[in-house]
Subunit: 182 residues, 2 copies
């Protein structure tokens, strides 16, 4: 069924969410429309599955033995993913139709799934005693994702290994001098 989801992303990029019709997706994928309806009964479910296929389903869960190592692997993966044409198309769509309630609900549900992804990495870091007390560790990952997406999507600047290392270091150790911490 990868063909149907890829076709969904193509049609979305061309006509947007509101105008997307399951018939057109089926035609593009070369399958019968009942085949699509059987698996994804509504447009919303179809589009959510298509979004998941290029976000949640592509996520990785590294296990390098340290939080720093895991963050760097995830940061590199995020940067590579975020510059893919599919992700650029997704960003474009979400902003172009940012007042469509159904599309907003899909985006929110994808973000909730994304947020659960680093849990094994966070648990491993906790088990190693690596996390500062009282920290919301998911914020580290959200901050990292936001900064990478913002740099590519808004600032329009390339991302290199030096940038990713600096970013991970800031999130791990902070910008404040040691003797100014209370």
């Amino acid at each position: 069924m990868r063909g149907v989801l890829a076709a969904t992303l193509e049609v979305l990029a061309e006509v947007g969410y509101e105008a997307l019709r399951i018939e057109d997706v089926a035609a593009r994928a070369g399958v019968n429309k009942t085949t699509v309806y059987r698996r994804w009964p509504t447009k919303q479910e179809l589009v959510r599955a298509a979004f998941r296929s290029i976000t949640v389903d592509r996520a990785i869960t590294p296990n390098t033995g340290s939080l720093r190592g895991d963050l760097l692997v995830i940061a590199r993966h995020m940067a590579a993913q975020a510059s893919s044409p599919e992700l650029q198309g997704l960003r474009r769509l979400l902003f172009a139709e940012d007042r469509d309630a159904e599309l907003v609900a899909i985006a929110q549900s994808i973000h909730e799934s994304m947020e659960a992804l680093p849990r094994p990495v966070i648990e491993a870091a906790e088990a190693r005693g690596e996390l500062a007390p009282g920290i919301d560790a998911t914020l580290i990952f959200r901050c990292m994702a936001a900064t990478i997406h913002h740099r590519l999507g808004m600032e329009r600047r390339p991302i290199d290994e030096g940038f990713l290392t600096q970013l991970v270091e800031l999130l791990l150790t902070g910008g404040l001098a040691q003797d100014k911490r209370t």
Copy 2:
């Protein structure tokens, strides 16, 4: 001339960058088109000025006496600004026409100006010895802006004081436990 820039943002929101004509902006603002051309000879200059009027020109430079205090004031201001309809419209436009080279160049130049803004805050923090050695302090501000914009624009979640405090704390002191820092 505020009226002309406000009219520019309105017309942009309606027709986008490519289709915007200075004549239409002048008509909307109720001024002669030569009045507009005299001050902003090209569409690119007019649109850049309109973007600046709701970004760079609205920025604040706090001086609370501590980096933590300054960051919190800026974070609150960013969050309030980022949820304004004008900024939402700007985000929508930048993503909708993200392959227009002229518009991308405008966005990049605005981001460069934005990046210079925290310089007084950074210099004050340096003078107080508050910055960790080797840190690129502008990254703290870029990370903060990205996370706030991402939360509002992509995750579609509200921002409260608790979130801003957590974010500032993470950027200042990092997520790694003290005894794991080498």
